[in-house]
């Protein structure tokens, strides 16, 4: 393995300030994150099930426990109607907030 001399790297570094480069990095980063999540699902198939069901479980628990709390319900009669969109969004976002992190350094 050999390190690149500074002169070789300089050209690419000048371009690195461009908006196009930043956009490409954003795209690559997002793709990489999605790829890593898919690989994790590949290693643990059961995860798909738990990621889907867990938010619904929280909807049931919180929804039932707090359904009569009008302060929290933001004008809705039933707290579950207020809670549901957020929980669905969370399910789509793989339920990260309520799951223990799998990352070793977390």
């Amino acid at each position: 393995m050999s390190a690149q001399p500074a002169s070789v790297r300089a050209g690419s570094l000048d371009a690195a300030h461009g908006l196009a480069v930043r956009a490409a990095r954003l795209r690559d980063g997002t793709t990489a994150m999605a790829w890593a999540e898919l690989r994790k699902l590949h290693h643990d198939n059961l995860d798909i099930f738990t990621r889907s069901v867990q938010p619904l479980l929280w909807l049931f628990i919180f929804g039932t426990a707090l359904r009569r709390n009008h302060v929290l319900s933001g004008g809705y009669h039933d707290y579950r109607a207020y809670l549901a969109p957020g929980v669905m969004a969370q399910a789509a976002h793989r339920g990260d907030l309520l799951r223990p992190r799998r990352h070793l350094g977390a």
């Binding site: 050999s2 790297r9 690419s12 570094l13 300030h17 790829w35 290693h43 799998r102 350094g105």
Partner: protein, 277 residues
Amino acid sequence: MTALAREVEERAVAERVLGVEDLVVRFGEVEAVRGISFAVSPGESFGLLGPNGAGKTTTIRVLTTLLRPTAGSAEVAGHDVVRDGLAVRQSIGYVPQAISIDGALTARENLEFYGRVTGVPRRERGERIDQAVEAMALGTFLDRLGRTLSGGMLRRLEIATALLARPQVLFLDEPTLGLDPTARRMVWDRLELLREEAGTTILVTTHQMEEAERQCDRIAIMNLGSIAATGSPEELREQFEADSLEDVFTAATGGTLEEGGSFRDVRATRKRSRRLA
């Protein structure tokens, strides 16, 4: 400082791949780094030593562009860490104290992931991963999940991920923390080989005096945010008229070993050590 030490320091400043001048970092009332200056030559292995809370990690965080300095300047690979942060990040590899490997991915997938996020071109990615695998001797556990790897394997894998972008400077924040002697030796052997073959400059923080003595060309001992002494291990021993680097460390830090490091630091360090053991 001896004439030889001054000559080495002047050469480091002239040819530097990394230079820090009057660097100050404040967190509110607390001054974590108090106007330190040093330079590192290309291909050099430079050690930052000091008790907990001395400012070593804060300095590394500035040099890796994770933290903005309050005052002073720092350059890495010819780029200013504040004005040219992206260029600096493209020139360095960083292995932090905290474990940066994803336990739910295999070793190979972790390498692939880091290759993607650090912008390694797709056509070169496979070759660079192979080179990093060879450099850190990861061949036998490439298909194992990160959470099943031992501490030594994890550290080598982390260093391999940091090598994918072919860094000019590699920052290692306590790379052998929590590792057994065999794993430590393996990590250092691989880093030594990397220096010989690629000429990579290494800046390392460690609490292991014997490691610093054996592996570092030059050392800066930090204490309470300042640099208390700089030089090669031999020069420092001469300067402090000490038999070992441990004695130099105690003399340079004025025996303040018990003053640095918060409860939170100690708890985090112990937790990390347990995970790596």
